[in-house]
């Protein structure tokens, strides 16, 4: 894992459940137990009603591309070696939108509205990222 140069997320007490699920290749978001409001990224207190009662909901892993950009320039280590890459916002079938990478196709083939599904990327022994690929 020593050669992974991109930034790694720092797991904290509000996000631990999300990251631990990804290691199991499961994608979760949160829903307020009291007011049923979905939320992403994870946090301990529901911003809609300030309840601490939280349910974790497993996402289907299906979604659509809400927006994207083909990145041709990024000097940061880890990224400069993998240009061009697709930075995207994907809207999960369940509603929440998340930043991600679209992989598994030529960058220029990505379109807004394209159907995608989660592809788990085990980048270190502790960290798995949710990326997305076109639904075949």
């Amino acid at each position: 894992m020593g050669d992974y140069k991109k930034p790694l997320p720092r797991i904290d007490e509000e996000s631990r459940g999300y990251w631990e699920a990804l290691v199991r290749h499961e994608l979760y978001f949160q829903r307020c137990h009291d007011c049923d409001t979905n939320r992403f990224p994870p946090r301990a207190v529901c911003p809609a009603c300030l309840s601490s009662a939280t349910d974790w909901v497993r996402a289907s892993g299906r979604g659509t591309v809400y927006s994207f950009t083909v990145t041709h320039q990024n000097q940061a280590p880890g990224f400069r070696e993998t240009l061009p890459y697709v930075l995207a916002v994907v809207e999960l079938a369940e509603g929440p939108r998340m930043m991600t990478n679209v992989v598994g196709c030529a960058p220029d083939d990505v379109r807004i509205g394209m159907a995608v599904e989660v592809e788990f990327a085990d980048v270190t022994s502790e960290i798995t990222l949710a990326t997305f690929r076109p639904v075949r």
């Binding site: 991109k6 930034p7 790694l8 997320p9 720092r10 797991i11 904290d12 509000e14 996000s15 978001f29 409001t37 979905n38 939320r39 992403f40 990224p41 911003p47 809609a48 809400y66 927006s67 994207f68 950009t69 083909v70 990145t71 041709h72 320039q73 990024n74 000097q75 940061a76 280590p77 880890g78 990224f79 890459y85 930075l87 995207a88 916002v89 509603g95 929440p96 939108r97 998340m98 930043m99 991600t100 990478n101 807004i112 509205g113 980048v123 990222l129 990326t131």
Partner: protein, 383 residues
């Protein structure tokens, strides 16, 4: 009793440098403070309110030491490049409330000579939200590009329409001897420049320069007796946009909230605005901001910005100094928006002077448009 119209920008100074390997950022702050105080006809001993940004956590104290200021009111608002517009709003409230009487706002940066890759550096890990974004490589350009791509998808906006903004801004820069890039460009030049982060080309992006500036604010009553014709703060408002609970509409920029607030507070209508100074980190920033401010309907920005409408002699003169796209962008451009607006209201702009300029609207955008960003709108009027 409101604050609006009771506080003025009495002195402004734009540091002429664009490349300063021989200077430090603090030195540019100090030289700019000297320029703005001289412009106002005040001395550093008159300053009792101090505002700055971009100096790091608790850096305002270090800079206060550098300038040997002992202010009774400090504000190091840090919401990105719009911070200096926000300083004006906060200083107006502070001056009107009697918390200070002469506010000094300073900015200085040597981003270019330090070779700081502002827009394409990537890898920021500063807040909990970054844990869910930075691993995927959002550069600053990329964050704005997400908005541009969505705008094109939703409304059919084209790269050529965005390019028109860069072309008009370069025309203004060609008339500004201090601007960093002055050679006129065409829409074709913009489209032929390399793609940095699709759909944004190199010439859709602001430049990187060194530079700085300063403002002096005081009560309208006191400003009347000072050296230059004051610009009155008629109204202002600020806002923030973020991913929320994962429900962000990327086209819902902060200007939709701060713009109507500032115009209503000023009692000014769109038709009254003679000049717009809007943060042009990227061409899309201008387009999205003008829609947010209400100068055109959402989705109409592409056609609205075309055909020279934004030229100094067009229907809505915008960024007449050459903007961040061509004149200067040391990392945080908000202060230059205010400086140019004040100079236009005074009628000091020579070849790019907007005829009969009585009301100027300033809008700063800070942060990353497609992630978390601030918007601060201020309406200035001729005293």
């Amino acid at each position: 009793m409101s604050v609006w119209g009771k506080v003025a920008v009495a002195g402004v100074f734009e540091h002429p440098t664009r490349w300063a390997p021989d200077k430090t950022a603090y030195q540019i702050h100090a030289e700019s403070a000297r320029g703005a105080l001289a412009d106002a006809g005040l001395t550093i001993a008159d300053v009792d309110g101090f505002f700055t940004s971009g100096v790091g956590p608790i850096g305002i104290m270090s800079l206060a030491q550098h300038l040997n200021l002992r202010p009774c009111h400090l504000d190091s608002q840090d919401i990105g490049g719009s911070s200096f517009v926000s300083h004006c709003l906060h200083a107006a409230a502070a001056i009107d409330a009697g918390l200070c009487s002469v506010a000094l706002v300073t900015y200085g940066s040597t981003a270019a000579s330090e070779r700081f890759a502002i827009g394409t550096g990537g890898g920021f890990m500063m807040s909990p939200a970054d844990n869910f974004e930075a691993p995927y490589g959002p550069t600053i350009v990329g964050s704005y590009a997400l908005v541009a791509q969505r705008h094109m998808h939703q409304y059919g906006t084209t790269s050529a329409q965005l390019a028109e903004i860069a072309v008009t801004t370069r025309r203004h820069a060609s008339l500004n001897p201090a601007a960093k890039y002055r050679e006129p460009i065409t829409v074709e030049d913009v489209l032929a420049s390399r793609v940095i982060s699709s759909p944004l080309h190199l010439l859709d992006c602001c430049i990187i320069s060194d530079g700085g500036g300063a403002l002096v604010l005081t009560s309208a009553a006191r400003a009347r007796d000072l050296a230059k014709r004051p610009a009155l703060i008629l109204g202002a408002g600020e806002a923030v946009r973020h991913h929320g609970i994962g429900d962000r509409d990327l086209l819902d920029v902060a200007a939709f909230q701060s713009g109507p607030l500032a115009l209503a507070r000023a009692g000014v209508k769109h038709a009254d605005v003679d000049l717009c100074m809007v943060y042009d980190s990227y061409t899309i920033t201008v387009l999205a901001t003008l829609e947010g401010l209400g100068f055109c309907k959402p989705g109409e920005g592409g056609a609205f910005c075309a055909n020279g409408r934004l030229a100094f002699d067009g229907a809505l003169p915008t960024n007449t100094d050459g903007g961040g796209l061509s004149s200067n962008h040391p990392g945080m451009r908000g202060i230059f928006l205010v400086i140019e607006a004040v100079r236009q209201l005074r009628g000091e702009r020579g070849p790019v002077q907007v005829a009969d300029c009585e009301v100027a609207l300033v809008h700063g955008t800070g942060g990353m448009l497609g992630q978390r960003h601030s918007g601060v709108t201020m309406v200035l009027g001729k005293a």
